[in-house]
């Protein structure tokens, strides 16, 4: 050890150490004359020397002197072995194994496993490279399973804590690679799978709108790809569940084919549809899963189709017609019975505008095309066979809406007793719906009517109540008797507790009975008072929307994003919940849950969006299939389903060894296709990447026992001499 090897690391600021030294020396100087008066000069100098020695040694401790030893060392890079575990690694590789099994066999197989050989020469860390990268112990390598979408080797290397690594990628080439990354480490790529032997037909892409309109043509564009098949004609079929919507034949000509196709179809049922485009799997295909492409499509109404049949011309018909016609979302087909069979026909047919009432076409064919049937004081028995009322029942049962509007022909006045309508209507036909004129019936909301979408016309409960109190009296009502399953929304006031508006459900459909033919007075009466026609129009609009199950009226709504759900991608869903005052169904806390295709509840986030009554829910589906989203409150619940499909980039399972070659070449690494070449190539690469560095080893001097011993010895000697010389 030389003086050059001594280094100082002051424990206190240097100025403080010097100040302490100065104070100590000053104390020695000051005490010297006093000591000199008691002992001789030589003794006085001796004691001061001992004290100064101890002081210097103590002060020296604060400087933390240490001897530093420098040693030159070599460093080898760590081998970061990335094993691709994405889902395509489950596809066939060489030797009857899957690609992942082929890779594992390459690492662990044989008399002298490659992984063991590598571990003997290098520090090896194995990583499973999938959607995320995770380190795995050597013993876990044999248990790796393929799953998930493509991994990103560049991003995986970026996350490594050490920069002195040599990355090796064992993959079929179906990885993300954009050539970006700050490290630019040379990748050694080792391929698995055999592109020459791989055979597959798959639907590569599919473009379809998220929303379509009922009855309007929908066009779906797709690209079918194939590899390893030749001279093959196959059907491509588009199905809605099990129902075939359309099909098209494709001809596969070359070894690698790409066939674009376009399919058109129409859907008539409003709501979500889970469709799939598929090609039949062929013998020897690498994967049959990518032969179909599931997707969801929501069919919405472009217009609400209403069929209205009025028993006679009336203001009720005209104002309803005005309300329907003023709404651009309504498509109205109406028939008014202008003359009854007993009316006199005093002119030839050519001189009248009456057209035959197309009963047969309407009831046996066209009825299912409508969303809502309105029978306005219509005495069916004069024009319609009882059998057609069975069609009306089927229509409502299947989800159609029915509104029966009162007047002398409402129930048994129209001979509806004993017909299928008895089951459908929310009121009993037994009471015959006796019609009463000239009663000036004011109306009042029932408890249910206060919050029901049909009669909730104003924002607050009180305003709504006042509005209905203000409505003009009705000059004619039907005395109807409600079924227990029905709900009354409006009833006569002033001692006429007869339901005016009753609603109910039958099968999938909704039914309303408006037991008056004077609702038009709510229009002109309010206009006469300068209040405008808005209340009547809103009443009609909301009646139509409720009867046709407009989702916008639902107290709880789940609004799905327009773009498609993909497996592994987090998606946000908006949930709207009406205020408790508007709907009793939304009372209590709002809960959101997601069930996967196996019916298992999965994790989901649910938070307030910031808008009144709106929440944001998000979840990340991990599987393909139909997920159920459920929103629950104390008063009700709603369920929505979404179809989760495989991300498009994983549908192509052809091994992409060219990509591995490109990764190696672009990073300065090497594409190594032979197992035998791998070890020598890595040894050579490691040799080039070995680095030398100086390692410093520091030994504190005062940490040695001799220094405190010396200080103690000096202080002891000083004490001994003072005692001997009689100073203490």
């Amino acid at each position: 050890m030389t003086w050059k090897d001594i280094t100082l690391s002051p424990l206190l600021p240097l100025w403080l150490i010097l100040a302490l030294l100065g104070l100590g020396v000053l104390a020695l100087i000051l005490q010297y004359p006093r000591l000199r008066t008691r002992v001789g000069r030589s003794r006085c100098l001796w004691l001061s020397a001992l004290r100064l020695g101890a002081l210097l040694l103590l002060i020296g401790c604060f400087l933390d002197p240490a001897s530093t030893e420098r040693v030159e060392k070599k460093s080898s890079p760590t081998l970061a072995l990335f094993v691709d575990t994405s889902s395509t690694m489950a596809l066939p590789g060489r030797g009857g194994k899957s690609r992942l099994e082929e890779g594992i066999a390459l690492l662990l197989g044989g008399e002298k496993p490659l992984l063991k050989s590598l571990s003997e020469r290098f520090e090896v860390q194995v990583y499973a490279l999938g959607e995320s990268t995770r380190p795995v112990e050597a013993g876990e390598v044999s248990k790796l399973k393929p799953a998930g979408s493509r991994g990103d080797p560049a991003a995986a290397v970026e996350k490594l804590s050490s920069r002195n690594v040599l990355p090796v990628l064992l993959s079929d080439g179906r990885v993300k690679w954009e050539g970006k990354g700050s490290l630019r480490l040379p990748f050694f790529t080792v391929p698995v799978g055999d592109p020459g032997d791989y055979r597959d037909i798959w639907i590569e892409t599919l473009k379809a709108p998220a929303v379509a309109f009922r009855g309007r043509e929908v066009r779906v564009e797709a690209v079918v790809k194939s590899h390893g098949f030749q001279a093959l004609t196959l059907p491509v079929s588009l199905r809605d569940g099990q129902k075939l919507l359309t099909a098209q034949s494709i001809r596969i000509q070359g070894d690698s084919a790409e066939i674009p196709l376009s399919l058109s179809f129409t859907l008539e049922d409003v709501g979500p549809h889970h469709l799939s485009l598929s090609v039949p799997p062929q013998a020897g295909e690498g994967s049959a899963l990518n032969n179909s492409f599931p997707f969801s499509l929501r069919v919405a109404r472009d217009k609400v189709r209403i069929l209205m049949i009025s028993g006679h011309p009336s203001l009720n018909y005209r104002y309803l017609r005005m309300a329907f016609k003023s709404d651009p979302s309504i498509d109205l087909l109406s028939f008014v019975i202008l003359r009854t069979p007993t009316d006199v026909l005093n002119v030839p047919l050519q001189e009248q505008s009456l057209i035959p009432f197309p009963v047969e076409t309407l009831f046996s064919k066209e009825l299912p095309q409508f969303d809502l049937l309105v029978l306005d004081d219509f005495s069916f028995h004069l024009y319609v066979k009882p059998a057609y009322l069975e069609k009306v029942r089927e229509f409502v049962k299947a989800g159609g809406g029915l509104a029966m509007i009162g007047g002398p022909n409402l129930l048994d006045g129209g001979k509806y007793s004993g017909t299928p309508m008895e089951d459908v209507l929310p009121v009993s036909t037994a009471g015959k719906g006796e019609y009463q004129r000239e009663i000036a019936a004011k109306v009042k909301l029932t408890r249910s009517g206060g919050s029901h979408p049909i009669t909730r016309l104003e924002a607050t409960e009180k305003e709504n109540l006042d509005l209905w109190k203000e409505m003009p009296a009705l000059d004619g009502i039907n005395r109807v008797q409600m079924k227990t399953s029905a709900t009354a929304l409006l009833e006569g006031g002033d001692g006429i507790p007869s339901p005016i508006i009753s609603v109910g459900k039958y099968g999938q459909g909704r039914v309303l009975v408006l037991a008056t033919d004077y609702s038009w007075k709510w229009y002109m009466g309010m206009v006469g008072r300068g209040r405008g026609q808005w209340a009547y129009h809103r009443f009609v609009e909301r009646t139509v929307r409720w009867l046709t199950k407009d989702p916008g009226l639902d107290p709880i709504q789940v609004l799905l994003p327009e773009d498609r759900f993909r497996r592994g991608q987090k998606k946000e869903v908006r949930v709207r919940v009406q205020s408790q005052e508007e709907s009793p169904e939304t009372q209590g806390a709002v809960h959101f849950s997601v069930l996967d295709p196996m019916g298992v509840k999965i994790g989901a986030e649910f938070k307030i969006s910031g808008r009144p009554g709106e929440y944001l829910a998000s979840f990340a589906p991990e599987k393909e299939g139909t997920y159920k989203l459920k929103v629950e409150t104390a008063g009700g619940s709603v369920e929505e389903s979404v179809e989760i499909s495989e991300p498009i980039e994983e549908r192509d399972g052809l091994p992409d060894h060219e990509r591995l070659r490109m990764i190696a070449e672009s990073t300065g690494g090497k594409f190594i296709s032979s197992k035998e070449d791998l070890l020598p190539e890595l040894l050579s690469a490691v040799g080039k990447r070995e680095s030398r560095y100086l390692e410093e080893r520091r030994t504190p001097l005062w940490a040695h026992f001799s220094l405190p011993a010396l200080i103690l010895a000096l202080l002891s000697a000083e004490w001994y001499f003072r005692r001997r010389w009689g100073l203490i």
């Binding site: 006679h312 203001l315 019975i337 009316d343 006199v344 003009p472 229009y523 002109m524 009466g525």
Partner: protein, 253 residues
């Protein structure tokens, strides 16, 4: 200063009001599905054909499914019951006093929001008397609008009968005139005195001769009247696509 006539009218109204409070003050007035409401205006002669209702409603019930009331309610434009009138009728021979701004506003509101007015100049002289006064009022009620001839494809000619002339007591014009607002014609006007042709006394005798066409002309007047009433209750129903092929075929056999 109040005139003697106005004083007597007020006194009678007050007296009658005490004894017979109008029903509508209680909000109890009842309104049949169809009835005539005739406007009682100031000046001129508001009721030239007091006996037109019975025969017209009888024909209406006989030939159509409309259940009409054989009554006529006469009211002033300021009466709140106006808004419950399915069919407002206004007729006269002579020039009448201009409507007040308030009356015009009420009539404008009634007609703009879906009400219907059938007006007749029973004198049948263009630019004179009732005709002049009524046309001037229409211009005031609908600024920028005036009575225009309704073309033969207008639904009023096809609402029940397919007609191409309107008949009446006097054939002044073979067509109706009207004010069109979007798809709705709230005012229809004639100078042929249709209500004169409909008028029948209590003994069942026609009040007026129809000249020069006689009973055929009267028959046309009833057809035109039924068409106007059906139009007032069905609007442009006959313009719906479902009627097109039938009407086209019958008009062009």
């Amino acid at each position: 200063m109040i005139s003697r006539r106005e004083f007597l009218r007020s006194a009678l109204a007050l007296g009658g009001g005490v004894l017979f409070v109008p029903k509508h003050l209680y909000g109890e007035n009842s309104f049949p599905h169809f009835f005539f409401t005739q406007i009682r205006y100031r000046g001129g002669a508001w009721d030239p054909n007091p006996q037109f209702v019975e025969a017209m409603v009888e024909e209406l019930e006989l030939r159509t499914s409309i259940d009409g009331a054989r009554e006529r309610r006469a009211l002033e434009l300021s009466d709140p019951d106006l808004f419950y009138s399915p069919f407002l009728f206004m007729a006269g021979k002579y020039e009448f006093e201009p409507l007040t701004p308030q009356e015009r506003e009420i009539l404008r509101r009634y007609l703009t929001f879906g009400g219907f007015l059938f007006a007749e100049d029973t004198l049948g002289v263009k630019g004179y008397g009732f005709d002049r006064a009524f046309r001037a009022e229409i211009k005031r009620v609908f600024p920028g609008q005036e009575l225009k001839r309704l073309p033969l494809d207008h639904p009023v000619y096809q609402s029940f009968y397919l007609i191409n002339q309107i008949g009446g007591r006097q054939p002044i014009s073979p067509y109706f005139e009207g004010v069109i607002l979007d798809q709705w014609t709230p005012v229809i006007y004639s100078q042929n005195d249709l209500s004169g042709a409909w008028s029948r006394d209590k003994l069942g005798k026609w009040v007026y001769e129809c000249t020069p066409g006689g009973e055929a002309q009267r028959s046309l007047a009833f057809k035109a009247g039924i068409n106007v009433i059906v139009y007032s209750l069905t609007s442009d129903y006959k313009k719906d696509l479902v009627h097109h092929p039938f009407i086209k075929k019958r008009l062009n056999p």
